[in-house]
């Protein structure tokens, strides 16, 4: 049983990145995504006994996440709902097309793609995400507008997304 629990915990740990990303997509990047992730983790752990090891863990866990997002919006003002049910379902399917069931491999690709960035681009991503520097503060430091920093970040994210997609396709072709 200890092994079973350990494996389940490992799978849940390995799925954290994917679940947070999945929730963020459904919530339009709302700041409460981290809270919903915690509620999702709680729900998954409470219902761990229902998990069939033959099923893909990530896809199974995403079901909990989707329900928790719905519950989150049901408990709050409809005004805060970014996407309606129909669009949320559509996005839920779409997000599967841009990710796979091996989130840790996606992180490896992300790391490889970060290494392929120009030094300045990597430093910008590092400042924003790894040093948690606000866009406004980066703009102040670099003597430019917040909008300019935002656009630069967006461009680097696009490069990373394209790079990951390219590597995923290459890996798929080799498989």
């Amino acid at each position: 049983m200890r092994d079973g629990v350990s494996t389940f915990a490992e799978q849940l740990a390995g799925a954290q990145f994917d679940l947070y990303a999945y929730i963020s997509v459904l919530m339009g990047g709302a700041a409460e995504a981290a809270d919903v992730l915690q509620e999702t983790n709680l729900a998954i752990l409470q219902d761990a006994s229902s998990y069939d090891p033959s099923r893909n863990f990530v896809f199974w866990a995403r079901g909990f996440a989707r329900n928790r997002v719905r519950r989150f919006y049901r408990s709050r003002s409809r005004d805060r709902l970014v996407f309606d049910e129909e669009l949320m379902n559509s996005l839920s399917e779409t997000v599967s097309c841009v990710s796979d069931d091996r989130p840790l491999e996606e992180l490896v690709l992300l790391r490889q793609c970060m290494e392929s960035l120009a030094p300045k681009q990597r430093e910008l991503i590092t400042a924003r995400y790894f040093q948690a520097t606000a866009v406004k503060d980066i703009a102040t430091r670099e003597c430019c507008s917040e909008g300019a920093v935002s656009v630069l970040l967006h461009r680097v994210r696009r490069l990373l997304a394209e790079c990951i997609e390219k590597k995923r396709k290459q890996a798929g072709a080799l498989a």
Partner: protein, 574 residues
């Protein structure tokens, strides 16, 4: 990318940055509702943003200490939720840290990644950049910046502060080439040794720091004791808590002791294992105590020490800086093929040309190129935009190997680099067909040779006025200016020829003074043109603001008073 895609892309950016309005969020949702490609685009960007947030440690978990059943309910197995959640998060973050550190990382087909065992285990990191961990010993550990905590197989834990280079000879012996470290040596690892160019420090179960810069090696003990000897084996002394040794090139090492009240007080804050809780502070206190001791007992050393501190701080600041101005994004969507161009190229001026709208968006022609910034005395260098497609043209200098184009507006700035000969660019200033608001742009094109030395710089200024894109009341000069309510960034025109007295002026100056607050002075080399006054996010706030426009060297000035009130900004021209 078509126009719709550009608009959508911009909305996605705003949503990710959290600057989108509710209306923009709804707009984004509507645009992608029946468009699979846009949904794919959104998912890709948002997912990547979220992954980066996770990896950067900006998503934290704190779920308290509730108990709940895990696994097979029939088994009655219960585990502490806090522990389980911590395991979840720690595994995730640790995985990423190992990846950042460049450690070998493999992933099996089931998706479970595992780090290979390493003689140097990364335990924790903050703001890590450029961390190289050795995969075998002896090996070299390098850290460009940030703070990393590693554990050796001997049980010794080293907190490393970049920039740092550390040769790890084995689990009991390291050599600090440069940088700062804080060592925690458990009793089981007693005898752990740190070498520097000047010193050799034998630990006897303790917490101590070592700092090495070009000519100086410092040791400071926070708990326990260490034996310090010179690199050639000559004993220095035994150091206990609050004591250290400083070795400088050209003279014998000497011992420093926090033996006066102020030093004892400072040391008390980091004494013992408190140093481990805040290594940066501990090392700072060690530096302060050492400096103060030198001032008291070895004043001739102070200047050298201060210089070393300044160098260390400068290095730290340089390492943390995230410069990116030359590797930025470019909004323009396409270069204009030379064969399609029929405009004149000049050697000295950047060109800006515009399709001229004649009353409607569909009826347009192309204006002639306009020279910009070519007159040193009295120029009317401003070009007014009439279209969202601006062909920029220039001549590439013979000695240039690269160029950088910077476009600065009130709302946004863009930089793009050219690494090969390029003579034109089609620039689209707005994401929409019409500008959302009036805007002033300054363009700077700098050319660099192979040695990255600037060989030439061209400038241009452009303004987008509402009147150029639609019908507005004619506004010939300041007396007829319909200031009214200004709620957003303001484009303020100026022209020395408004009066005969200033008609020959070559420069202008606008001074904006907030009553009881900041003053901004805009001095330009133009006698006419437009100031872009950034009100939105410009930190001007509510209250009275005075504007004064004059032309240096000539008498007379224009004045305006502004009172910022809720719902708008009232401006009155006097």
């Amino acid at each position: 990318m078509d126009e719709l895609a550009i608009i959508f892309d911009d909305l996605v950016r705003r949503v990710i940055d959290g600057t989108a309005t509710p209306e923009e969020r709804r707009r984004m949702a509507e645009l992608m509702r029946d468009d699979g490609d846009l949904q794919m685009h959104y998912c890709r960007h948002m997912r990547l943003h979220a992954l980066l947030m996770c990896c950067g440690g900006q998503v934290k978990a704190d779920v308290g200490s509730r108990q709940l059943a895990v696994g097979n309910r029939q088994s009655g197995l219960r585990i502490g939720w806090k522990i389980a959640a911590a395991a979840v998060i720690v595994i995730g973050v640790t995985t990423w840290l190992l990846m950042l550190a460049g450690s070998p990382f493999r992933s099996d087909r089931s998706g479970h990644g595992r780090a290979r065992s390493s003689p140097v285990a990364l335990m924790h990191g903050e703001s890590i950049i450029g961390l190289d961990l050795p995969s075998q010993l002896p090996g070299t550990l390098r850290l460009a910046s940030g703070q990393a905590k590693v554990r050796l197989t001997s049980g010794t834990e080293l907190t490393l502060l970049g920039p740092l280079e550390l040769e790890i000879r084995d689990a009991m012996r390291v050599r600090l080439e440069t940088g700062r470290l804080l060592a925690y040596v458990p009793p089981v690892a007693s005898g752990f040794t740190v070498l520097t160019r000047k010193l050799e420090i034998w630990d006897i179960g303790t917490v101590f720091s070592v700092t090495v810069s070009k000519d100086v090696s410092d040791v400071f003990v926070f708990q326990g004791s260490v034996q310090v000897v010179e690199a050639d084996g000559e004993p220095v002394d035994l150091c206990e808590g609050g004591q250290g040794v400083r070795a400088v090139a050209g003279r014998r090492p000497y011992k420093v002791v926090a033996d006066w009240p102020e030093a004892e007080s400072r040391f008390a804050g980091v004494k013992g294992q408190k140093a481990l809780k805040n290594p940066e502070q501990a090392l700072s206190v060690a530096d302060e105590v050492t400096l103060a001791w030198i001032e008291r007992y070895e004043p001739e050393e102070v200047s050298l020490f201060r210089a070393r501190l300044a160098r260390a701080r400068a290095a730290a600041e340089a390492a943390e800086r995230v410069p990116f101005s030359k590797s930025a994004w470019v909004r323009p969507v396409a270069s204009v093929p030379p064969q399609e161009e029929n405009m004149t190229t000049t050697k000295v001026a950047m060109m800006a040309a515009a399709a001229l709208f004649m009353g409607s968006e569909t009826s347009s022609g192309t204006s002639l190129p306009v020279r910009i910034d070519t007159s040193p005395v009295h120029n009317l260098n401003w070009t007014t935009l009439f279209t969202n497609e601006v062909p920029l043209r220039w001549e590439w200098p013979d000695t240039a190997t690269a160029a950088e184009l910077t476009v600065t507006g009130m709302r946004e700035s863009f930089v793009t680099n050219f690494t090969s000969e390029t003579t034109n660019l089609l620039w689209r200033p707005f994401t929409t067909a019409l500008p959302r608001e009036e805007e002033v742009y300054a363009l700077t094109l700098s050319f660099f040779d192979s040695g990255e030395k600037e060989v030439q710089t061209l400038t241009a200024k452009l303004v987008a006025l509402a009147g150029a894109f639609g019908a507005v009341p004619v506004d010939p000069g300041p007396s007829d200016r319909r200031w009214g309510k200004v709620k957003a960034n303001a484009v303020i025109p100026y022209d020395a020829t408004w009066t005969a007295a200033t008609a020959d002026a070559a420069a202008s100056r606008l001074v904006i003074t907030k009553t009881g607050g900041a003053t901004q002075e805009c001095l330009t080399g133009d006698a006419s043109g437009y100031f872009g006054w950034k009100l939105v996010n410009g930190d001007w706030g509510y209250g009275a603001v005075a504007l004064t426009l004059d032309f240096p060297g000539f008498d007379g000035k224009w004045e305006a008073a502004l009172e910022y009130v809720a719902g708008g900004t009232m401006i009155t021209v006097r």
